[in-house]
Assembly symmetry: D3
Homo-oligomer: 340 residues x 6
Amino acid sequence: MKKIVTFGEIMLRLGPPGFERFTQAHTFEVIYGGAEANVAISLAHFGESTDYVTRLPDNDLAEACLGSLRQHRVGTDHVLRGGDRLGIYFVEKGAAQRGSKVIYDRAGSSFAALEPGMIDWQAALAEAAWFHWSGITPALTPGAAAACREAITTARSLGLTISCDLNYRHALWKWGKSSAEVMPELVAMGEIVMGNPETVETMFGITAPDPAGDPVEQTRLVAEQLAARCPNLTTIAFTARESHSASHNTWSATLWQAGHFYSGPSYDLTPIIDRVGGGDAFTAGLIYGLRRKPDEPTYALRFATAAACLKHTIPGDSNLVTVAEVEHLMSGDGSGRISR
Amino acid sequence: MKKIVTFGEIMLRLGPPGFERFTQAHTFEVIYGGAEANVAISLAHFGESTDYVTRLPDNDLAEACLGSLRQHRVGTDHVLRGGDRLGIYFVEKGAAQRGSKVIYDRAGSSFAALEPGMIDWQAALAEAAWFHWSGITPALTPGAAAACREAITTARSLGLTISCDLNYRHALWKWGKSSAEVMPELVAMGEIVMGNPETVETMFGITAPDPAGDPVEQTRLVAEQLAARCPNLTTIAFTARESHSASHNTWSATLWQAGHFYSGPSYDLTPIIDRVGGGDAFTAGLIYGLRRKPDEPTYALRFATAAACLKHTIPGDSNLVTVAEVEHLMSGDGSGRISR
Amino acid sequence: MKKIVTFGEIMLRLGPPGFERFTQAHTFEVIYGGAEANVAISLAHFGESTDYVTRLPDNDLAEACLGSLRQHRVGTDHVLRGGDRLGIYFVEKGAAQRGSKVIYDRAGSSFAALEPGMIDWQAALAEAAWFHWSGITPALTPGAAAACREAITTARSLGLTISCDLNYRHALWKWGKSSAEVMPELVAMGEIVMGNPETVETMFGITAPDPAGDPVEQTRLVAEQLAARCPNLTTIAFTARESHSASHNTWSATLWQAGHFYSGPSYDLTPIIDRVGGGDAFTAGLIYGLRRKPDEPTYALRFATAAACLKHTIPGDSNLVTVAEVEHLMSGDGSGRISR
Amino acid sequence: MKKIVTFGEIMLRLGPPGFERFTQAHTFEVIYGGAEANVAISLAHFGESTDYVTRLPDNDLAEACLGSLRQHRVGTDHVLRGGDRLGIYFVEKGAAQRGSKVIYDRAGSSFAALEPGMIDWQAALAEAAWFHWSGITPALTPGAAAACREAITTARSLGLTISCDLNYRHALWKWGKSSAEVMPELVAMGEIVMGNPETVETMFGITAPDPAGDPVEQTRLVAEQLAARCPNLTTIAFTARESHSASHNTWSATLWQAGHFYSGPSYDLTPIIDRVGGGDAFTAGLIYGLRRKPDEPTYALRFATAAACLKHTIPGDSNLVTVAEVEHLMSGDGSGRISR
Amino acid sequence: MKKIVTFGEIMLRLGPPGFERFTQAHTFEVIYGGAEANVAISLAHFGESTDYVTRLPDNDLAEACLGSLRQHRVGTDHVLRGGDRLGIYFVEKGAAQRGSKVIYDRAGSSFAALEPGMIDWQAALAEAAWFHWSGITPALTPGAAAACREAITTARSLGLTISCDLNYRHALWKWGKSSAEVMPELVAMGEIVMGNPETVETMFGITAPDPAGDPVEQTRLVAEQLAARCPNLTTIAFTARESHSASHNTWSATLWQAGHFYSGPSYDLTPIIDRVGGGDAFTAGLIYGLRRKPDEPTYALRFATAAACLKHTIPGDSNLVTVAEVEHLMSGDGSGRISR
Amino acid sequence: MKKIVTFGEIMLRLGPPGFERFTQAHTFEVIYGGAEANVAISLAHFGESTDYVTRLPDNDLAEACLGSLRQHRVGTDHVLRGGDRLGIYFVEKGAAQRGSKVIYDRAGSSFAALEPGMIDWQAALAEAAWFHWSGITPALTPGAAAACREAITTARSLGLTISCDLNYRHALWKWGKSSAEVMPELVAMGEIVMGNPETVETMFGITAPDPAGDPVEQTRLVAEQLAARCPNLTTIAFTARESHSASHNTWSATLWQAGHFYSGPSYDLTPIIDRVGGGDAFTAGLIYGLRRKPDEPTYALRFATAAACLKHTIPGDSNLVTVAEVEHLMSGDGSGRISR
């Protein structure tokens, strides 16, 4: 099959080991991650051919970052080098009633300084059939937003399938325009969108008609409105994370496809080893499912949900699981027995 | 606001990483902690100005210990140097049905060899408004008990508010007098006491009138009797830890103040990252609450209980949380969501 | 009391720290373990005099392995040296819905190359009263199976009590004969057997008469049939592990002895620190109980079950707990309170 | 004695453990350091009362940084909070023929955004007798240069002794003016300067008259010219590091004071544990010596040189040694015998 | 430029951290390495396009191994999967008078079970211009030797340049034929050979005519004889390691090319961080130099020697240095100064 | 051969990893060591049958300590349990000009509280041919000194060979008598003594007649005088450590035996990995040599010196080397080549 290209910012993730607070740390674990890179890595573990496009500085940290992508079979031939620095984010893992804490230090990164025309999108997408981006990129700077628009436009002109994870981060979107001003046009150019009703309200102003009504039905109605607003959309996936504590969440998802609406299984996540990247694991699972069984939307929904569940058991940003492992959980076996 | 001075023994805490048993350990984690130092550190994180008074030997381990206190904004100007050694305690963390294990190696420490007259209490308390001690100090040696009495007497003569955590440790109190012979007089000189009904029975001979009666009401009656016995007391706080397993406890507290009795919230602690210092975190929270909102006793009770809850999620002895973090949990949000 | 001799293969166990996957690991924790060695180590911690018999190569890894056995008071005087390599197994610890994963790399080991006549069983068993083996040894190679038979025969001729943990591993038994062809004769020479109904079905073809019937009663009936098939057996212990997730299991056991059938307590294991060796801990507990209180079969059953429960809280293969700790849990105190 | 105030940027220092390259690292060691903070910490270990002035953001990394300063007895009451980020530098330690490598990521830091008027220098210097700064601060941004000028001017007006470490870093000085345009005026306002002849050439255009002549004499002549250019200068210290390999350096220094010129001892540094902060350790030693024995310039020179030597044996940026340890080495005992 | 393909066995390298002995280790560092893989990785760091051909089992350790190759930009598209196990070698690092110790556990590996016909050499070499192998492969098993012969023959038929590192390991060559019976024919098919005079004597029976004569001249005469024996050879490189201690070696090399003989620089290696892979680093440097400056044999010799020198400063098997770093050392700067 | 029994105090050794100072440490490495235990462990690695006698408390740290002895094949059947605590010592490793630092925390230990009559020496020495003690034991307390005298007397009455390492520690000997009052009588009861001329002067008042004379000759004359004073002595070994830096020492030794005097080889120790236990390694080597080749005193001297040399390359207190490894170095091969 042709390639899946994902595009976004990958950062150096640093954080204390175990459950130490930032002020207790004498070492930081070193990981490289970012929403769209996590999707690419997960897809590569599912056997898909993937390429990741970003912009990184010319230093050894960026080399280490590239090595990490290649290690997971993600192609890096179209990564642009230049700019001043690698974005960083610091993660302190929470437990029980104490939530995890993230400090972003991504301003001034090589990626944030991206401008249209820098990346040769014709070349980067030449062997691809699918293009994936997320709402984080246009949130960063006008240049990144414009470069994202350029990528989407090129992908569309080349006939690629386009998916977007809305990924709303309130702390971003500081450059002058709101997500509501930027995202609808970009999202409307693609076929697939992942998100949740709250984000749809923020970005599209779409609300559930009866907040007191049946939650699943209200979610369906939000999806219907979004589909009406963006006629090019064929698939809308909404995830729902219920947070009982930092160590115990419940995870489920719904899928709207071509007028039909499906509700997936719910997983009890406890103990959570690392919740970063749970949504990216879902996205990767969904893309895999939609590509491999396009006529079986519930397969994609169930595969994505099981994939997201497994991600929570794995340290780091990336969902290092195989299709067989996801399907084993989909089959109902979440017993965690030893595989010898 | 004027300073809070806490007084007691700080020790070198050593223990295997993770859930290794003592006999499996090839490294020990190095922490410095003790009940009253933990209270001071927690108060400093709440923004209070604190000083810690103790006696430490003249060696590099004591230097490291002092550095650790200063790092957490605790004043050490009145720490006395001298004596033979730093007390040590070894902690093996338990899990599920296997309880944690503590080996004390504190005999002969610089603090245990304390005698009245060694510390210049007039100077040490000159800038303070509050003095906090615990039942561990008089349990150690006759000299430590006498020095503790000297401190309390001076604090009283200077008009400081005095609080005491009863902190009964059966393995101590080996020097000739029992806690029942020593503690009542010392406690009666202060205004605030933290403990639990079992300790009150041991130290004061006060029992709940009807063991089969409603537990909260019985606790109230114990507090009433203790208040009657020590007329100077204005505030009595009782904590209750229910231990389901080493990894799962339930924690709650009650507060008697000036004839009124309040019952606080209950927190489910699971998984427990480190339970050492839970009571000290409660004590610090109570002192903070009583100082900041003296007319709102339930604030102190709820703040202290939420603080103790958060302590169980943090490795080490000390409750490294801010007022904002405690109040976030008090507000009812124990969902452990990521703070970005 | 006279010695307990256990016989089998001990291997180098390697695995990533924490919950890392194999592909994430940059260090492996180094442990030496194997079913029968685990039993010996646990018995030594219970105060029994034990000897372990195996075959190890002449290299420093084998020296480290021997040192580990001696450290736990297990005698190694009859360990044979020779052959090519130490068997290895790699363990990736799972969590929640992701199960643990084991990669065996034991082919060609010094033990697998064992042949009858190599070990001087008369000498090895001279001071022993009890011989323990497991179904892993005859599963390896024809030579190991024959050596196992030789050991059992000698033990019987010397009047030792013989116990066997059936320990069926599907991935083994590749050398030409099935477990059903080999095990029944060997098991029948002993007095005690540990296992579960599924393994009894595989090895003996014995099934529960009414799969839809009461599970405990059905288990009893399987034990009755097995006892009838092997008249020398006096004791049959069946363990039952219910796996809710990799982090949460329920564990219980039943015991058939001389026509009587006993059902033991059930323990909720959560969180599981290391589940490897749970069955070996049970076996060691059972042997200890049967030796110390031969007239009180429920003691052995309850002791073994509580021992297996505690094992799940301890990193590594071996159950490093004392009789006092097991009896504390048997007494009903699984509260995990701190022991100071 | 009155306080020593040092002023500059402290950063988060991250680097692989041992001799790993950046591309091999899975953990980074976490240290907080910067030239002027290192000087303050070293002086505090010598028993001097010190305060450190800088600007840090409002986040937990900055809290950890402040804790690290306080731990070493450095006062932080005048640290300004605000701005966007904590500067970072990454250090890869070299060995033998492979040199260490540093990646700076300090652009956009809270300190770089400093402007005159932000810091209340009257308050910050109120209790001080000595002010120390380095050539790194004016190299950063126009604002930092202006704030540095403001600090020096205020210090002078308050009658403080002012010392400057020229600290030329070619990679900095990118904001429009060269060091030669900025530094001479600032240096001339102080009394003490540390540096080396190469830097004096860069900043002041002063060269040794006879490059082929006796090196010590040429160094003296450079000092004489610098003293003539800056009549306020009383003391000029030049350090000389000869680098045989990353693991083996030779270190020596010379001192010009009021027309006299002194040459100090030379130390063979091998193996070097951490060379970062060697110059800062020299500076701290020099300040200590000049303050404590103002009439004995060779004491200051020898103390500073021995202090710098010891720094190379200590991991991290800071010279964690006592006066007694430095004087022990000054006395000629570099034998490294065990102190029991 | 076209690809360089290297072929051989890559293994899991395990060893204690620091200078612990095997019997002290509780963790092993995990690295993947092997002579020919090390060459490929080093060449990839020099910017060459490389492919590595081997045979690996179908398990997660092999996945981790492949990830490690890809991380370093080595192509793995022609790695064959199958067989039973990944070879392992254990390394204990020595210091001073205590030498390092290696335990090989490679028997029965997937690579050792290689047979001619398994690998599609036409495909594997299709895009290559250079093929590199070493004397380790034919030493393993008859099948590996035959597969190696097949590879060389194919490479020759395709017109590739062929290089061989003689790499004599006495502990191998146990399968029936000696290196002298196997190697000469294989070596003679190539153009370039790396080794040392001792190995040439073992494999070719060629000795220096006058052992008491000038060593460089004698080395030249050995090269001359070898060239005469293998007329296809254009280049012979001999390395010389003088071992003063495990921490201090001297390294130099000579090169015979088309009748000319060159002697390269000598490097003092101290302290040695990791000496494994020093020869492979030389080989990679030589190949790089010969390809990039075919008309300047002393460039290749000096580049290779400097590369080997730098390898000794880097933990692990692989020489993670760039061309710029090697050329910096070639330029004479071995001072190990900080690069900022 | 019959057993060697060593007697003394074993302690918990704690220290920072690498070259961290005490004030930087967040973990301590955990080792169990003591002069006489180190001798026993080294002898066990040489294949000797050894037993270690001491007194340890009844806690898990003592269990871990016993496990460590058994792991190294040292018999612990006659270790007495009781008393209050395990002695501790803290070790900070130095480098270059910074010496290592030791903090002792051994007062009040179970061993220090030893009294005559506690240990059943008849039983403890029943199977022994050799008894070894050191000057540390009588230095501790009157009780320990008396118990040591009891042990020596019993050993003598049983006809054992008795060796003593004088092991003078100035910081000990605080209980009222000086070493000069206690040691001569005890030493005189044995046959073998290890030490150095400085200690002989302190304990026996014996000085070299001509301090300006040839050092070896003067050492011989000291030995002669000591032999004259203690007519029972047959063998006197003097070690000489020249300390160039904490990382580089030179080590040599001399031996007086029955009127003859031998001077051994000298080893350059660089880099030193861990110098603790160097003298104990020498002692163990000497005892081994004297037992195995009683007629070849230079063998013992050379074996002991080479053993001490190797100890400096091994982390921890104990010399974990085999006879083959020592003899390899004795043979002149200190090249540190890899052993594959």
